[in-house]
């Protein structure tokens, strides 16, 4: 059975999964979950995703949520096709896990926090907390200073090959740039890395939304 992807066409986490499906040449059927109508909080949805979040997949009966877990599953299940996204050598793999953890703890809280304060909260009737946005941006800048050091020694976050860890940054990195928060361009190594990852045809194919 073709993989079923339940998500929202422009949702960051849905796009995170979509880019990996493209990288691994895995066909999928997309089912739109209408966030604007609260479909993700409906009992039928929550039965599959108890946190009421998108996306989730149905892979021949295996229901899986958490976009990064879905990406890992796809990269592992289809290891022998498309782009290799998780190293197999034990030390390279450990450095991949380090890079993946860097994204979740040193990038995502600040990038997604900024996306919320400066764009998404308005969709739900909220208002930008300017002080909080400023703090988040300062923190993000500090983190990217460390990225600048790392990426001065190697091409990508886990080493010299692209991995899932780099791709995980795409959706929120793209959103904050779109909002006007550019902490990449002033850091030459980060800029080089960001340009390399975003210019991948797979990201270009999904970045504006999936059908």
């Amino acid at each position: 059975m073709v993989l079923q992807l339940y998500g929202f066409p422009t949702s960051t986490c849905t796009l995170r999964v979509a880019v990996v499906l493209k990288e691994k040449n895995v066909p999928f059927e997309f089912h739109m979950v209408d966030l604007t109508k609260g479909e993700h909080k409906a009992p039928a949805f929550v039965a599959n995703q108890p946190f009421g979040q998108v996306p989730y997949i149905d892979d021949d009966g295996l229901i899986l949520y958490e976009s990064r877990a879905i990406c890992r599953h796809i990269a592992t299940k289809y290891a022998s096709q498309g782009t290799a996204l998780i190293p197999t050598d034990p030390k390279a793999y450990a450095l991949f896990e380090q890079a993946a953890s860097i994204e979740t703890s040193n990038f995502d809280p600040f990038a997604s926090g900024l996306a919320w304060e400066l764009r998404f909260c308005m969709w739900f009737g909220g208002q930008t907390d300017e002080a909080r946005a400023k703090t988040l941006r300062t923190s993000l800048a500090g983190k990217l200073d460390a990225y600048e050091v790392i990426l001065g020694r190697q091409k990508y976050l886990a080493g010299n090959e692209v991995t899932l860890a780099d791709l995980f940054h795409l959706p929120y990195g793209a959103i904050i740039l779109d909002i006007g928060i550019d902490e990449f361009s002033s850091r030459p190594n980060v800029k080089r890395w960001w340009d390399a990852v975003t210019s991948r045809p797979t990201w270009q194919a999904v970045k504006d939304g999936i059908a």
């Binding site: 450990a94 040193n106 983190k143």
Partner: protein, 212 residues
């Protein structure tokens, strides 16, 4: 050469690594990093950990940071000793483990972490708790644990019927949540309470919870 754990005895992330060393019967040497003196921000430290955070390990010259990555590395390096199955094998079991591990990072750490920053870490540094923000984080944590209670009503642990790293990832911040007077987030939900009591009763956690 004995594994060197560079960290702070009471740091949440340092204690997570120490816990996994206990689970996997891995001897280690704790090399204390003086956070009070800002040692973690020194150039010498940042050579090894560019974000200036604890912990990192030196495994016979192999440097690794990010506590969850260190835990994964140690579990994978010693698959046949200590507690088995902390990272399951097999495509489906692995996927459900990754789901559970991600749930901790994106749903628990993102609420419990900032809540503890407001209620515990800021006062320790002489700063004032932002009570409104703390209330927001507490509400967020409670909402997430409602979902945990559903999951844990169907299965014993977060990834299935056996304990995995995903469960253990919750211990350091979870214990701090209890210490700060919010144990009711666990105890008020029957399935979460059962799960929390089981994992926090592990002798391995009790061996490190007061210092790595």
């Amino acid at each position: 050469m004995v594994l060197k754990l560079h960290g702070f005895p009471l740091s949440t992330c340092t204690r997570l690594v120490a816990l996994i060393c206990k689970e996997k019967d891995i001897p280690y040497e704790l090399i204390a990093v003086d956070l009070m003196k800002g040692e973690h921000k020194s150039p010498a430290f940042k050579e090894h950990q560019p974000f200036g955070q604890v912990p990192y390990i030196d495994d016979d010259g192999f440097i690794l940071y990010e506590s969850r990555a260190i835990c994964r590395y140690l579990i994978n390096k010693y698959p046949n000793q200590g507690t088995l199955g902390l990272i399951p094998t097999g495509l489906q079991a692995e996927a459900l483990f990754e789901q559970a591990s991600s749930v901790e990072c994106t749903n628990f750490a993102t609420t419990a972490g900032p809540l503890m920053a407001e209620k515990v870490f800021k006062p320790r540094r002489g700063l004032q708790t932002d009570e409104a923000r703390a209330a927001e984080y507490l509400a967020g944590l409670n909402a997430k644990l409602d979902a945990y209670d559903v999951i844990l009503g169907k299965q014993r642990y977060l990834a299935g019927e056996t304990v995995t790293l995903a469960d253990l990832q919750h211990l350091p911040y979870g214990a701090l949540v209890c210490y700060s007077g919010h144990a009711d987030v666990f105890s008020s939900r029957p399935n979460v309470a059962r799960w929390w009591n089981e994992i926090s009763d592990r002798p391995t956690w009790n061996a490190v919870k007061n210092g790595a």
